[in-house]
Amino acid sequence: MHRDALDNELLALREEVVAMSGRVRTAIRESMVSLKSRDLSTAQRLIEADEETNLMRYGIEERCLTVVATQQPVAGDLRALFSILEIATEIERIGDYAKGIARISIAIGDKPLIKPIVTIPVVADKICSMLEDAMKAFISGSGDLAREVASRDGEIDLLNDRIQREILTFTMEDPRNIPGALQLTWVAHNLERAGDRIVNICERIMFTITGELTDLD
Amino acid sequence: MRRYPSAGSWRMALRKAGQGSAFSLFWMAGIAATAVMLAVVGYVVVKGAPQLSPDFFTTSPRGGLSGEGGIASTIVTTFYLVLMTLLVAAPLGVCAAIYMVEYAGATRSHLAVGFLRVARFGVETLAGIPSIIFGLFGYALFVTALHFGFSLLSASLAGACLILPVVIRTAEEALKAVPAGYREASLSLGANRWETIRKVVLPSALPGLTTGLILGVGRVLSETAVFYVTLGGSYRTPTSILSSGRTMALHVYYLAMETRAFEKAMATGAVLILLIIAVNLAINMVSRRLSASMRG
């Protein structure tokens, strides 16, 4: 086996995944900014930038394929590669959620928000730090950290429930709020889904380490 | 960055010239060697040929000193001597080689290892010493001490001693040349040693063994010194194993030394050379035929 090539490539792929996650975290934060500040151009930029994230994932997938085809990895290396592939997919999907939020932002257009958003950006922040920590676990191969990150998803779910109820309350007050409320619901839902994705990522990390697919829900 | 002169054309020319002059010397050596062969064989055959007639082969020498007569009895003696020598040396040598390669070589008992060491040393040494020493030995032991006199018996025993090392060595080589894989395969199929030797090793070694024996024949055919001192030199056709006799090679010697019948000596020599060529061809053919039949 030509270890060097394989090791280098695995490292590069991991870094690529982390870079991707960085882009996606930025996208989430910026989606919040555009939502709060009603900045449509940022939103538009986000949508376009997601295309690049998708391309990154394609790139990663292609590289994984090439590595499997040319380096014949087995055992730990192979699991790492499969995990990289899956994690990249999950991150790409998280990116899609950010894009979704940006789309909602645009859909809301120049109308004001039905209410000032408070909890949603908090959730977004939590998602970002979960993703960041998941990447730390990914790079360091720390199962404990991955487990811990996954456990934080419960909080996200709770927050989401609260947000949903809150929005529901608003709509009850004024049916005209309904479209705006629905839109915010979508935003929260997107963030909640992102949390689930991060749990999946953590599961993948565990898999890389132990070789077993475990349910961290 | 070059650390040495580039292969410039002058250097190249020099290198090529060196090759040219060296190679022309080698060509000369090759041609000279062939010329020597042609000179010796050509001379003997050309001088001897006129003597060759049916009579030459069917009559015996008449009188040891006259140089008259043919070579009939010497052919018979040669044949007997070859046969008897082989009869003694072949089974003994081949069996010994089988033991050395197939048995002693495969154990680590002190006896076997010691035996092998002595045997190899003895055979090696004996293969290298001059044949006259076998004559000396044969004369002292068989002719004198054992009272076999100058006879086919003494000569063939001395001859057997002479070719025994050759036979053992070539047989050993032939057996060693049988791929170990054959033995392993046979044993792994549940055959025992003897079955393996009989059914696999010996058939494969046959070309080599035969070649070795024919080599021995060649040696007996051309040997003179040993038989000069053990066979007596009578030109009569031998009637028993205790009869004295004269091989063709010995006859050449007597003709050359005792008579002036050089042409007859040449003729006998020519016949002998032809016989030896035949034997060599036989070696080639037999080993080719045998190994072809192995290969199918």
């Binding site: - | 048995y103 001059p130 004559g135 010995l250």
Partner: protein, 305 residues
């Protein structure tokens, strides 16, 4: 399916019987080989004891009638004739070996090689005959005091021809058995063919070539009948009668082997034992040649190991 589970014991029995047959043959063969050595040694011992090793080796007079047994002249005879043969034959033989192995086109080799093989098969008595009839008269043509044709030069030439095929074919085999990979390796580095031969092939075949030479030497020292026929058999120290040191080769001489062959049949008592001693000395000489060669080989190997 018809494998019978029989014959186990019979198989074992035949195995055992054959093994003992082989073992007995082997021990018998080795016994013979050892006996020959011991016998000769035993026969020779009294001569060494009574005449003295030193006298045997350095005595120049060999007159059994007077109980004078000095072998030095014969040792010199054997030595000189071998030297002559090597000087005359070795370059030709090696050249021919290299030619056949590396240089000759296939069809030329198809002529040269059988010639060499044929030469190897010719009985020594025929070389003796050829020497007597052709060489001796030729050599006799050299105008030199005491030259009668019979002598070291004729013998050397005969021997040179006799060792030619031995050395040529053994060295050819040695050169041929140099793996083709060496050849390709050298050529691929940009060597010419001659550089390849000189710098890679010949050094690689060194030990084989050396053993070819040793074999040739052995054959030269051991040759008997052809020597009797052309060397004159005189019991004298070879001398250069005419002053010219090379003239020594026109001197008659006797070889150790010839000494045995000529005198063995009627020698009795001490004379006979002296001949056995001659045999032992011959034997030792061969051993010395062989082991020197082996040592040389080991040394040349050692330098590269």
């Amino acid at each position: 399916m018809s494998i019978r589970k029989a014959g186990m014991t019979r198989k074992h029995l035949s195995d055992l019987v054959m093994k003992s047959i082989f073992r007995i043959s082997a021990f018998a063969s080795v016994a013979i080989v050892v006996l020959i050595g011991l016998f000769i040694l035993r026969e020779a011992l009294p001569a060494f004891r009574e005449i003295g090793v030193w006298k045997l080796l350095t005595g120049t007079e060999w007159r059994p009638g007077q109980n004078l047994f000095g072998l030095l002249s014969m040792i010199a005879g054997s030595g000189l004739v071998t030297l002559g043969a090597i000087v005359l034959g070795l370059p030709l033989a090696l050249g021919c070996g290299i030619f056949m192995a590396e240089i000759a086109p296939a069809w030329i080799r198809g002529i040269v090689k059988p010639s060499i093989e044929l030469l190897a098969g010719i009985p020594s008595v025929i070389f003796g005959l050829f020497g007597m009839v052709v060489l001796v008269p030729l050599v006799r043509g050299i105008d030199y005091p005491g030259n009668a044709g019979f002598g070291l030069l004729s013998a050397s030439i005969v021997l040179a021809v006799m060792i030619l095929p031995t050395i040529a074919s053994v060295s050819e085999v040695a050169i041929r058995s140099v793996p083709d990979e060496y050849r390709q390796g050298a050529l691929a580095l940009g060597s010419t063919r001659w550089e390849t031969i000189r710098k890679v092939i010949l050094p690689a075949a060194r030990s084989g070539i050396l053993s070819a030479v040793v074999l040739g030497l052995g054959r030269a020292v051991g040759e008997t009948i052809a020597m009797i026929m052309v060397i004159g058999n005189s019991v004298m120290m070879p001398t250069a009668a005419g002053g010219d040191p090379l003239g020594i080769f026109l001197s008659r001489a006797r070889t150790l082997t010839g000494n045995i062959a000529v005198e063995m049949n009627y020698a009795t008592g001490l004379h006979s034992q002296a001949l056995f001693a001659t045999g032992v000395i011959l034997f030792l000489l061969i051993m010395v040649i062989n082991s020197t060669a082996r040592a040389l080989m080991a040394r040349s190997m050692g330098s590269s190991r």
